[in-house]
Symmetry: C2
Subunit: 315 residues, 2 copies
């Protein structure tokens, strides 16, 4: 048996693949060399999860990797029509980001409730300005996205005493279907977007949805930027349709220095970091190594993406 | 029986005493009139919990209120030696601030873990700067103060997966004694100060204690300003003995505009608001009305302060 070729679409720092050393032929590619190298690879590791190069470079016919793994939860950046139609298996980093993102959302919810951004502003002005803040326990949240990340967010908010509803693609036990969404967000203090980006979810947070929310509501997006119509959110904040928002993801990343989003009143902008806690890259590499062991042994992979739906289905 | 006289040391807005209307003679005082009116009052409600007027105005001998209630958890601002030695009963607002302060501490812990203050700085500079953040679950906290506020803080941090130790005046089940303090803070990621201000606790967070903490540790004070040697904390932050801190309370409040504390690197300054959620003043007034009903019926009061110790003892 020949040694399999593992092609890595790289980003700094390189993945630490430990015990795979010597057992695979590891080749590296960047956006400019990916198309040329893909036909010779058995496995593709999309380590640069910010790149859209796979969509463009994926071969229409002929030899191609039998398995593609992405070091991310979302797969929208690589899942073009040819890859979706092929028999190549796609896996993702399901599980790595759940708890970190849940904590990040809790941090934002509590920061808004306790008015922390304004406290820091007053501190800069050396101004002592007492305000009344909000109690988080007893408030209501809606989490859109019922995968592991959405469920972890719901679990953490529930632990803080927040009554939390999950909304998914289809109704099932403990999860509301899309038909309940408008009713739920109309009564929510916190609307959390943690859905995968698919044709069904693109632009789902638009002017109409922000209009449905309460003036005291806050919106947080930790899913994908294109879930949100960014201009509609900016307008909703300027008109005070809602009280505040936080975006960790954007339609175009990194956010350009001249984007108007940086200065929208009541908007917190962060650089796509909600899931990235110390050691995350090593966790991602370890997860790939474990999947590789399954693949090399001919056993079924886990975290397999449903390429029609655009995410890993499951409870 | 004559109608009792209730003297209120006022602050804006006045307390809403609802069903007491007509059942007591309500008189109002400020710092300048308190001494003159105290001898004629049966009950004193210290509504202006920022005032130190009671310490100064309390009569040494002769007629005086039989009961003093303060709309605060701390009693250090009113408990002078004459009042402590008298047979006047002192009660406090135990119970009102527990959950709000616990949420406030959780907000600060999560904000530090997720580097939120720096995110807001980068946003002002329109700078996209990805960082790795910390996972809160699995970290260690020490909460100094084992009353209802300290216990609520411990409960909320525990719900976020933080391993939390409580330190109180004496060792008991679930609570460490003072002998364990230095060992515990030496291993803590988060050191939370929520103790009452007494002769034993004044200045307990000094240069030596900040020196014992880890360079990655954060310190939060929601107790009383004088628990902390402020210059020592500022120096510890400047020298990076610890990673960050948040003060909601200060030796002198409001913090003067020219205080150096406003600009200490890594220090979050907030205006003594951690317990003050929307509706808190009405909750404080309702709590006093309920205590008054007990007092008027000749039944034992609750929330009775041990005037030697300086707090309400109990589990």
């Amino acid at each position: 048996m020949t040694v399999p070729t593992l092609l890595v679409l790289d980003a700094d720092p390189l993945p630490r693949l430990g015990r795979l050393t010597g057992r695979v032929r590891i080749e590296h590619a960047d956006a400019s060399t990916l198309a040329e190298r893909l036909p010779h690879a058995d496995v593709l590791l999309v380590w640069d999860f910010t790149s859209h190069a796979v969509r463009e470079a994926w071969p229409g016919e002929g030899p191609r990797p039998r398995w593609v793994h992405t070091a991310s939860a979302g797969v929208d950046h690589l899942l073009g029509p040819e890859l979706a139609a092929s028999d190549t298996v796609v896996t993702n980093a399901r599980g790595i980001f759940d708890r970190p993102i849940a904590e990040y959302v809790a941090a934002l919810v509590l920061a808004f409730a306790k008015d922390l951004p304004r406290t820091l502003e007053f501190q800069r002005e050396r101004t002592w300005r007492h305000r009344e803040t909000r109690r988080v326990a007893g408030t209501r949240a809606v989490v859109v996205g019922s995968g592991p990340i959405g469920r972890a967010i719901a679990g953490t908010l529930t632990a803080l005493g927040v009554t939390t509803a999950l909304v998914g693609r289809a109704e099932r036990t403990g999860v509301h279907g899309p038909d309940d969404l408008d009713r739920l967000i109309a009564g929510a203090d916190w609307v959390i977007s943690a859905a995968p980006l698919t044709d069904r979810t693109r632009g789902m947070f638009d002017a109409r949805r922000f209009g449905v929310m309460q003036p005291s509501a806050h919106f947080v997006n930790v899913g994908r930027g294109q879930l949100v119509v960014e201009e509609a959110l900016a307008e909703a904040l300027r008109r005070r349709w809602i009280a505040g928002a936080a975006l960790d993801v954007f339609a175009a990343e990194p956010l350009a220095p001249d984007s108007p989003l940086w200065e929208v009143p009541g908007l917190v902008v962060s650089p796509h970091m909600s899931g990235d806690t110390v050691g995350w890259r090593d966790e991602l590499a370890d997860q790939f190594v474990e999947l590789y062991e399954l693949w090399a042994a001919g056993r079924p992979l886990v975290n397999v993406v449903d390429k029609q739906r655009g995410y890993v289905p499951g409870h």
